[in-house]
Symmetry: C2
């Protein structure tokens, strides 16, 4: 029987990415992926040699083209305050609409493979992080630009990385998941914290 919709690698990865992001490498079986894609487990091995290869392809796919719009904001001609505000807002939007991205990165950082970490830092993070440190230096040269850059990125990322458990904490509200609300909160905290420093 010929399948009505033969699956491409991209279709499989689109299903696998949120699964790996949500449960990690060992928390997702090939059967689970196959079931979600609508294939038998064996069929996956026609597209990828093994589970590791499927996982690494999913990582690469998830990282594609995420940094472009952020770098465009950083290198615009607006005031440094405006660029900070726009950067935070855009990062909130990106992470909100594709939280798998930050989850995968976080899991990768915790798995401690030095070679993969170095690759991640130099190939994916470097230019963007460099741009943020330069913006930080413009905003307030008295601060350590590295620490400030980590803080700004961390402020945004942490709100969305904790999205799964935050609803069960006291005082949780629907709006706390709204990227606009989080962006405004973070922007205020950082901008005001810098002005008086």
């Amino acid at each position: 029987m010929r399948p009505l919709h033969p699956k491409s690698k991209e279709e499989i990865l689109a299903i696998a990415i949120p699964l790996f992001a949500g449960s990690g490498y060992s928390g997702v079986s090939m059967r689970t992926i196959a079931q979600n894609v609508g294939l038998s487990a064996a069929a996956l091995y026609h597209h990828f040699p093994d589970k590791q290869a499927l996982y690494l392809s999913a990582m690469a796919q998830a990282f594609v083209d995420k940094a472009d719009s952020l770098e465009k904001i950083l290198s615009s001609s607006a005031t440094s305050e405006k660029r900070l505000s726009q950067f935070i807002t855009r990062l909130c939007e990106l992470v909100h609409q594709d939280n798998d991205f930050s989850m995968l990165i976080q899991r990768e950082m915790m798995n401690g493979d030095e070679a993969r970490l170095q690759l991640l830092a130099t190939e994916i993070y470097h230019d963007l992080f460099q741009g943020v440190t330069e913006l930080c230096q413009e905003l307030n040269p008295q601060h350590d630009p590295y620490l400030l850059a980590i803080s700004i990125i961390g402020l945004v990322m942490y709100h969305f990385q904790t999205a799964a458990i935050r609803p069960y904490l006291p005082h949780s509200k629907e709006q706390h998941n709204d990227p606009q609300v989080v962006a405004r909160h973070v922007t205020n905290l950082v901008l005001l914290g810098l002005k008086t420093a």
Copy 2:
């Protein structure tokens, strides 16, 4: 044959905690834990009814000791600014000296198991988080205390959760891993950000 060194729950948990921190729940088998403890897998079931219970005990064990010193700071009679500063400093110290702690928390927060998330939020995180939100409300009632509490905790945690990859980023220095330096940076950012709000 009588065992020379019968194992206590605490001894088992002390072995299990770094294993779960490093590889996550599904990345660690009962056989692996048993092997590291120096027991057969079956013996573990004398101490814990199942793997879930062992894991939850490990989480509680890893967290309760830490939470105590933090809650003591939150409920002290110092000014709210002093309590914030001390809380941030203590959290930096805790997370710096015991990386398993933050790794376990982060893995748990990214985990998709709704039932376990709810249990952890209500049974383990609730009181501490409640204390932080109350402090936030004291510091500046105009801010959303929930968002501010997440931001404060996230600012600290992110610096240490990214410790593995940060050395490969531009402008990285040795001092960026010093809990005192990070604590001062975060405290300044938050306190100044609130004063002018």
